[in-house]
């Protein structure tokens, strides 16, 4: 994969180009958040309390007089961090287990598939709530809980995709060239299931952000006064009735934009990884 392919994929699909640019904007915000935010996100003197959007505070201020724009920008790092760590964790575990289950079958397949079924039988958000409540209210546990509820989807996709390829001609050819199973899995099966997995990763990133924000919204996971989109929406929710709409709207809108961006990104990521899609 090199810049030539990136340019080609972006040019072929304008929606992917939009998604990639919004995504890079978010990444910049995550990296440089505290530097580009106009105010300290915890500074309660950024403006008058509950001030509507003005030139001074473009997204308005919350009930403590903190600048909402700054808080939204700084929160990016935490929200993306949680989502990325959770997705990475479930991607690594899910694809390793799924590949093994799909390729070898047998008892390992039966156990891991039934385990995935069991996880999926729970209402997933309630399961995540339960995990965070039981393990303790920390960012780390939000990541584990999010990873756990995403795991079955990776397991399923990896299992199905490697299962159809275990009989493929090139797998048999590799075996006839003297390769053992582990090498076949690593060199031939895994790279071939990566494109469909990438779509899953991207959709899941959006979902993981939503999940982390949802947990914070109900008071689990990240705690105030730390800036986080879910908490900010929760804090703002009580002011909507009294007319202070901006407190909840802006963090909610940014959250939505992030999820939307990830949903659009999936196809583009797949096109980048699959050589057959970029000629």
């Amino acid at each position: 994969m090199n810049t030539k392919h990136l340019r080609y994929v972006l040019k072929e699909n304008p929606i992917t180009a939009v998604a990639f640019s919004v995504f890079s904007l978010f990444v910049l915000m995550a990296i440089f958040g505290p530097l580009i935010a106009p105010f300290d996100p915890l500074d309660s003197n950024a403006g008058p309390a509950l001030s509507p959007p003005t030139w001074h505070n473009p997204f308005g201020t919350d009930s403590f007089g903190r600048d909402i724009l700054s808080r939204v920008i700084v929160a990016t790092r935490l929200d993306f961090g949680i989502a990325l760590a959770a997705v990475l964790l479930s991607f690594v575990i899910g694809s390793a287990f799924g590949c093994a289950a799909g390729f070898w079958g047998g008892w390992f397949d039966r156990i891991s598939s039934r385990l995935a079924d069991t996880i999926m039988a729970f209402p997933l958000f309630v399961l995540a709530m339960g995990v965070v409540a039981a393990l303790g209210n920390t960012v780390g546990n939000v990541i584990y809980a999010t990873a756990l509820i995403n795991l079955p989807f990776y397991l399923r996709v990896a299992r199905a995709e490697s299962n159809v390829r275990r009989e493929a001609g090139f797998v048999e050819a590799a075996r006839l060239a003297g390769n053992h199973d582990l090498r076949i899995l690593a060199v031939h099966i895994f790279p071939n299931i990566l494109p469909p997995m990438m779509v899953q990763v991207s959709l899941n990133m959006g979902w993981a952000i939503l999940n982390a924000a949802g947990l914070s919204f109900i008071g689990l996971g990240v705690r105030p006064p730390m800036p986080e989109w879910g908490i900010m929406v929760a804090e703002g929710a009580s002011y909507i009735i009294s007319g202070e709409w901006w407190v909840a709207l802006f963090p909610g809108a940014v959250l939505m934009l992030a999820v939307f961006c990830f949903n659009l990104l999936g196809d583009g990521l797949r096109d980048l990884i699959d050589p057959r899609r970029r000629t």
Binding site: G169, E172, R175, R276
Partner: protein
């Protein structure tokens, strides 16, 4: 039998029987197969589909279905019995000593890996080539199979190449470690006639260059006649006739071989003049299979045919046939 010309054959298969245990009964897929192959020789295995050609080839490399069992026989190759070798020993033999090329070159290549890298995989695995040399060796392999502009093709993906080109890549892969035996399972079936000729020319010239023995599995008698030194005819899991290509073709002794030659298009002026072989292969799941599995379709059948197990008759020291009534 007289001693063969070469002191020791490269591959000597004796008394090989193989069966598949399936839910609907045991399939007696191969029975008492025997043949040998000398260095540098090309053996054609011909027969209609279902006659066990591919199963025979695959059993040499120890890759069979989980349901397959080798029930008897030996396949001596370089002092070792391929049928009794451990998985670990076989992994060392496959790709280095014995290579295989397949019917559908496109599916036998990893679709998202550059062909150059796929050749390097084999070199790394068996020839212990490392570093900078690797790319050069891979390009050399491409050059040997006469791929134009090999340095550029190194970076190509299989989907960017034509079927014939993919088959050349597959040959390059198979020959990368200069094996002493190549098994080609219908290597030209998916290709058009001109490409077919080019691939076969390439195969036989490379085989001659390296003094490599090869087994060509095909249902195309004309192809086998043109390129093989010897031909083995299979029918329903039996090797019914085996001998020098010229002899088998011009003076066939087994009734099935005769019919097979008569049903080959190029000898007949029109389709109407072609003579198809009556009947089908017998059901190999029956436990009461007759000693001669061609008996049900044979015009020279006599009651005596099924009286006793069918021995192998030597017509000349190098030409054997399994038929009581051979001409």
């Amino acid at each position: 039998m007289n001693a063969p010309v070469a002191s020791l054959p490269l591959l000597h298969v004796a008394d090989l029987s193989l069966e598949f245990r399936t839910r609907s009964g045991t399939v007696f897929a191969l029975e008492n197969i025997a043949f040998s192959l000398n260095k540098g020789e090309m053996l054609g295995i011909v027969g209609e589909s279902g006659s066990g050609k591919s199963v025979l080839a695959y059993s040499m490399l120890g890759i069979s279905d989980g349901a397959a069992r080798v029930t008897a026989g030996t396949a001596m190759f370089g002092g070792a019995d391929l049928l009794k070798a451990s998985e670990h020993e076989l992994r060392e033999i496959r790709g280095r000593e014995v290579s295989m090329i397949f019917q559908s070159p496109r599916t036998a290549l990893n679709p998202i890996r550059k062909v150059g890298h796929q050749i390097e995989d084999v070199l790394k695995r068996h020839a212990a080539v490392r570093g900078v040399d690797l790319r050069e060796r891979a390009i050399d392999c491409l050059k040997r199979v006469r791929i134009p502009d090999p340095a550029r093709r190194y970076d190509a993906y299989p989907f960017e190449l034509s079927g014939g080109m993919c088959q050349r890549i597959l040959i390059a892969l198979a020959l990368a470690c200069q094996p002493s035996l190549l098994i080609a399972d219908e290597p030209t079936t998916g290709l058009d006639v001109t490409t077919q000729a080019a691939i076969m020319e390439l195969l036989s010239s490379l085989a001659a260059e390296q003094n490599m023995a090869s087994i060509l599995i095909t249902h195309d008698l004309a192809l086998a006649a043109q390129y093989c030194d010897r031909i083995a005819v299979m029918h329903a899991g039996h090797l019914i006739e085996c001998g020098p290509a010229e002899e088998v073709l011009n003076a066939p002794h087994h009734p099935y071989t005769r019919r097979l030659i008569a049903s080959t298009p190029h000898t007949a002026p029109s389709i109407a003049a072609m003579s198809p072989i009556p009947g089908n292969l017998p059901d190999l799941r029956r436990s009461d299979l007759p000693p001669c599995r061609y008996a049900g379709r044979c015009e020279r059948f006599e009651a005596a045919c099924n009286a006793a197990p069918l021995p192998e008759f030597a017509i000349t020291p190098h030409h054997t046939v399994r038929c009581w009534n051979a001409e």
